[in-house]
């Protein structure tokens, strides 16, 4: 197992958002994290990606403890994530965003920024265009400011940024929410392709069941901050407890 999370608990005031959550993910595996609103899925992702600091628990990646590390350090360790909502960033083009993502790959000493002044990045540009932007159908808008793009394409840009880091662990927070079903399925396809190519572990928080079912190798269901079920996609639909909390059936 590459990612091993145990006993992860985080409270906000008196509200327990995530309680004793455990999760294991192997390289090359896509795990779907589902559950009703407020189940703590995004909060859990935020704990893994360094945005929140849980009160208890451990999250180990290839044996290293991740908790307490900043997002920037995590990115250098190969942990990248996307966001539910995407920011509108003025003056930055699609390619700029991808380059920002790729910058995590450079292991730079301080003062390295000075070298950047004199370094050409045309090779990187070509690579990003071919490897990342082309598959996400962003190559034609690579030089456009992202605020001119549609919501769906901006989500693709956010994914491109995360992928440009060539992550080993990819955390996706509702990657297809707000997209048309056609766009959503295309995005899901890209995620599978990336997994195939990079062999990375993927955790995907998602509500759209068709996308989850067709993309994920394994599914974990959360409710009220805890894991209530874990299994293959087919098993999930059959489980009565999952149906009860998730679909509101008696």
């Amino acid at each position: 197992m590459s990612l091993v999370a145990r006993e992860v608990t985080i409270r906000f005031g008196g509200v327990i958002a995530v309680e004793r959550m455990a999760l294991e993910v192997s390289p090359g595996e896509i795990v779907g994290l589902i559950g009703p609103n407020g189940a703590g899925k995004t909060t859990f992702i935020n704990c893994v990606s360094g945005t929140y600091r849980p009160h208890t628990g451990t999250v180990r990646w290839l044996g290293d403890e991740l908790l307490g590390l900043s997002p920037s350090t995590l990115l250098r360790k190969g942990v990248a994530r996307t966001f539910q909502n995407v920011a509108s960033l003025h003056d930055l083009t699609v390619l700029d965003i991808a380059k920002l993502g790729a910058s995590a790959r450079k292991d730079r000493q301080s003062g390295g920024h000075l070298l950047d002044f004199f370094r050409s990045d045309s090779a990187l540009e070509r690579e990003l265009l071919e490897q990342i932007l082309e598959p996400l159908e962003l190559a034609d808008v690579a030089h456009k400011p992202i605020q001119t793009l549609s919501y769906g394409r901006r989500k693709a840009v956010d994914l491109a940024r995360a992928l440009a880091a060539y992550p080993q662990l990819l955390l996706l927070d509702e990657p297809v929410a707000g997209l048309t079903s056609h766009e959503g399925m295309a995005m899901a396809g890209v995620v599978r392709n990336v997994r195939d190519r990079l062999g990375c572990a993927v955790i995907m928080v998602e509500h759209k069941m068709d996308v989850v079912m067709s993309t994920c190798d394994r599914i974990v269901v959360m409710a009220a901050g805890s894991k209530i079920f874990e299994g293959l996609p087919a098993e999930v639909q059959a489980d009565p407890e999952v149906r009860r909390v998730y679909l509101g059936e008696p």
């Binding site: 995004t42 995590l74 920011a87």
Partner: protein, 335 residues
């Protein structure tokens, strides 16, 4: 893109150089003043326009540069050494001013820079061995690489050379990872953090780079004025620089220079028009008013400043994106 910027920068510098030759000593002084203000505005635009960190301490930072350069030069150091030393000192002080920015944001941080401005002004007055107190430090004409800088015309050369270097360097900076991370930082720290940008590191580097450039401008101002005095580096000067980058266009490449030229030359233009029309008694006091009014008008109607205004006048410019006035940031994480 970069080559284009280099060509433009060199062309502008050559044009300014030609103007300084064409209009005698006064012209040379004005060109020098525009170049120095341009460098200072590029510095502040880097911090505010690109990095999103509002600072009211620009005036004092220029002072740091002027005092540093004056002391090095008066002690017999070469002018170039003095200018670089001023840059380094400006960078260090600016980074120190930036430290509260790691904790404070927006308006709260802006207030902290106000305090920094006040503290530096006070230090200028009391650190007698370095600043010569309220009398001000008289800076003797310097020599740069062995060439004496005794006239206004000779000083135009280093100012224009530095202007070109800084202008192109800022353009380049915005095309490398560090500059791109400034742009994200400006929109939202939360987004920047989520993207894996080391926010603290990027912020301090923004202050460092901006402070270095401010130090250069301060050094050149010191050489031009031959005096570094506390009264020359007050909050008024900070306000002038903020006016320059707003009028020129926040976060644009040409804006700082256009704004600097505008702010430096407008009072003189009003004065001369007033004299020609025999109304100088009435028009002179209106100069300050005109500034305030212009800034308000720009903020309301053209937040991207003269740069946007000019490019709109340009007949073939249809490809200009229409950015909103206020950065509409989609927060990516729950609070």
């Amino acid at each position: 893109m970069n080559t284009r910027h280099l060509v433009i920068a060199v062309a502008v510098a050559l044009l300014m150089g030609a103007l300084s030759l064409a209009f005698g000593r006064f012209g040379a002084y004005m060109v020098n003043a525009v170049a120095i203000a341009g460098i200072g505005a590029l510095s502040l635009n880097l911090l505010i326009g690109y990095g999103g960190q509002i600072s009211f301490a620009q005036g004092a930072l220029l002072g740091v540069g002027a005092y540093t350069a004056g002391n090095i030069s008066n002690a017999g150091g070469d002018g170039l050494l003095a200018i670089l030393g001023a840059g380094v000192m400006g960078a260090i002080i600016s980074a120190l001013i930036g430290i509260p920015a790691l904790r404070l944001r927006g308006l709260y941080f802006a207030i902290a820079t106000l305090a920094a401005q006040a503290i530096l002004e006070y230090l200028f007055k009391i650190l007698d061995p370095i600043t010569n107190g309220v009398s001000g430090l008289v800076i003797r004409p310097t020599t740069i690489l062995g060439i004496p800088m005794t006239s206004d015309r000779s000083l135009v050369v280093p100012s224009l050379v530095i202007l070109v270097i800084v202008w192109v360097a800022v353009s380049r900076l915005m095309r490398i990872d560090l500059g791109r991370s400034f742009l994200v930082l400006r929109e939202s720290e939360i987004v920047a953090k989520g993207m894996g940008i080391d926010v603290a590191h990027a912020k301090i580097l923004a202050f460092f780079a901006s402070g270095f450039i401010a130090g250069l401008a301060g050094a050149l101002a010191g050489f031009a004025n031959r005096l570094a005095s506390p009264e020359a580096f007050t909050l008024d000067l900070s306000a002038d620089y903020i006016a320059m980058i707003i009028i020129g266009g926040l976060g644009t490449w040409t804006g700082p220079l256009i704004g600097a030229a505008f702010v430096v030359l407008l009072p003189e233009a009003i004065q001369r028009v007033g004299e020609a029309a025999g109304l100088s008694d009435i028009l002179s006091p209106l100069r300050e008013l005109a500034f305030g009014l212009l800034i308000i008008l720009f903020l309301i109607f053209e937040p991207r400043g003269l740069t946007a205004l000019l490019s709109r006048l340009k007949p073939r410019s249809l490809a200009v994106p229409a950015p909103g006035a206020v950065p509409a940031t989609g927060e990516s994480l729950p609070p």
